[in-house]
């Protein structure tokens, strides 16, 4: 009788998908650096336009020299050419291409109740990408994610030290309520209220205020409060439960094409993916849903390469225990035992 090989060793050639998480960190850091660089460039252009080098304070002159050095590598006419990249993740112009956050468009629509087509179209590319890749903005671009993930690591350290850190579970659907209430308030007050509670917009703005204007707005205070919320109430709580932008992206990416999927034959039920998931999803139970932001942390940590990207519009739910896990092997053994006893 054919004996199924139950102790099949995982393939030794590991897939390259697990390096995606490093790429993601690189992207996040680049985006954040750019958000700090663009206001600096803008300030440098002001000094340049005014021919004001002799009037600057020594520290400003130092700043001017550094920016001159940095920009001299790729432009000869900084005053003109550096205008090519302006803005932040909320709304930006990249080489003449207008890009806006879908939430900005929706919020502005709610506030003004008027269609302005060029602005509507500027969200087209982000929306299309979200339909294909789901909540990728949250995991791969959002400048707040970088800080929130570091904050989340900090909370792990605090827990190691025996200090309090929040592990409250709230309802994930809360953020859809926040989105709806935010839009309703935008309509009621006639100004884009969602911009005040949306961390990526806040960070883009506040970095500009801090660098170019030398002040900080109310957004900084709000952002610090969200950090405290994450630390003391719920891990990554703002993204999970409250972020209106995350809610919008989740809705848009519900039937995304690229989603992480578990190969049940390669899973050994170790549960590391469930523990690492920042959004408290359960990759090991095939529970991704619309919340998954394709951050690939679970792919990176999976010891048997059971998780991978697949092209399909729904999760393959309820695949059961991993074939390499103890539970599945136990059940197989029992089944074989039964077969033997029944004499077949």
């Amino acid at each position: 009788m054919h004996e199924p090989k139950l102790t099949a060793a995982p393939t030794l050639r590991r897939s390259l998908w697990r390096h995606l998480n490093k790429l993601r960190w690189l992207t996040l850091i680049i985006v954040f650096t750019m958000l700090a660089l663009i206001p600096s460039i803008s300030l440098y252009q002001t000094y340049l336009a005014a021919h004001a080098y002799d009037l600057l304070t020594p520290s400003q002159q130092q700043f001017y020299d550094i920016m001159a050095l940095l920009t001299s590598w790729f432009t000869q006419h900084p005053l003109k050419e550096l205008d090519a990249i302006k803005g932040n993740t909320w709304s930006a112009t990249l080489f003449g291409l207008q890009l806006s956050d879908p939430l900005a468009v929706l919020g502005q629509l709610a506030a003004s109740l008027q269609l302005y087509w060029p602005f509507l179209l500027s969200a087209l590319i982000p929306v299309l990408l979200t339909i294909i890749f789901g909540r990728f903005f949250c995991g791969w671009i959002c400048p707040a994610t970088l800080i929130y993930e570091m904050n989340s690591s900090l909370s792990v350290w605090l827990r190691h030290l025996g200090l309090i850190s929040g592990e409250q579970r709230l309802d994930r659907r809360l953020k859809y309520l926040v989105l709806i209430v935010g839009l309703a308030l935008s309509t009621a007050f006639g100004s884009v209220m969602v911009a005040l509670i949306y961390p990526p917009a806040i960070i883009g703005r506040e970095l500009y205020y801090a660098i170019a204007l030398g002040g900080f707005g109310s957004g900084t205070i709000f952002f610090i409060l969200t950090l405290l919320f994450d630390l003391l109430v719920a891990r990554r709580g703002f993204c999970r439960y409250l972020c209106p932008g995350g809610a919008l992206y989740a809705l848009l990416g519900r039937y995304r094409l690229f989603r992480i999927q578990r190969r049940v034959e390669q899973c050994n039920d170790c549960g590391k993916c469930n523990a690492i998931c920042e959004f408290s999803l359960q990759p090991m139970r095939d529970d991704f849903g619309q919340e998954c932001n394709n951050c690939t942390a679970c792919i990176a940590i999976c010891p048997t390469d059971a998780l991978h990207f697949s092209i399909r519009i729904r999760d393959q739910a309820g695949q059961g225990d991993g074939y390499l896990g103890p539970k599945y092997r136990q059940s197989r053994r029992e089944a074989d035992q039964l077969k033997k006893e029944s004499g077949l």
Binding site: N88, S100, F119, G190, V192, A201, R205, Y209
Partner: protein, 176 residues
């Protein structure tokens, strides 16, 4: 006086509804005259404004060009277009202080700096003496920056506001 940047929608409520506070206008502004309501302003929080007396606008019209939502309208960089469409405010001269008006000398600084030339500010006597603000003035505030008088007899006020001196004004466009 806080004024909206050039090309801002005339109705300030419409402006607040249209502005998504992305800060692009300020990022492209060469003289960095555009500021924001940082921790004030209520529902106009994070929206841009200019205080022309602190830092004047150079009327380069870059902010309107870059504004994604048309809260700042696109206006061509031409004198006629700027005069026709920009309406931040209007300069006002206090005739009890201004040097030529109180007969203490010939100055003409405001008229020389005005980017709109004779349509912005004109001189009453022989083209050199006693400045008079014209209807074309858009309120950029460059005259305030160069005014040599320590108490600044020339100021920019919103067009609908009460004037600091009673003379030529078209009233009623900006609601603050």
């Amino acid at each position: 006086m806080q004024l909206r940047p050039p090309g801002a929608l005339r109705d300030d409520h419409a402006f607040m509804a249209a502005c998504i506070s992305c800060g692009l206008c300020a990022e492209v502004c060469p003289p960095k005259c555009i500021q924001f309501h940082l921790r004030d302003g209520g529902s106009s929080a994070n929206t841009p404004y200019i205080v022309p007396e602190e830092k004047s606008c150079i009327l380069c019209m870059k902010c309107g060009e870059v504004c994604p939502t048309n809260a700042l309208e696109k206006i061509a960089y031409k004198k006629e277009e700027i005069i026709k469409q920009v309406n931040m405010g209007i300069a006002q001269i206090d005739r009890l202080t201004c040097y030529p008006w109180v007969n203490t000398g010939i100055c003409g600084a405001c008229g020389n700096i005005c980017p709109l030339g004779k349509q912005g500010i004109r001189f009453e006597f022989a083209g050199i003496y006693r400045p008079l603000v014209q209807d074309g003035c858009v309120g950029c505030g460059q005259c305030v920056e160069v005014c040599p008088h320590p108490s600044l007899p020339i100021r920019v006020v919103a067009s609908g506001m009460q004037s600091i001196a009673p003379h030529t004004l078209k009233s009623g466009s900006l609601p603050f």
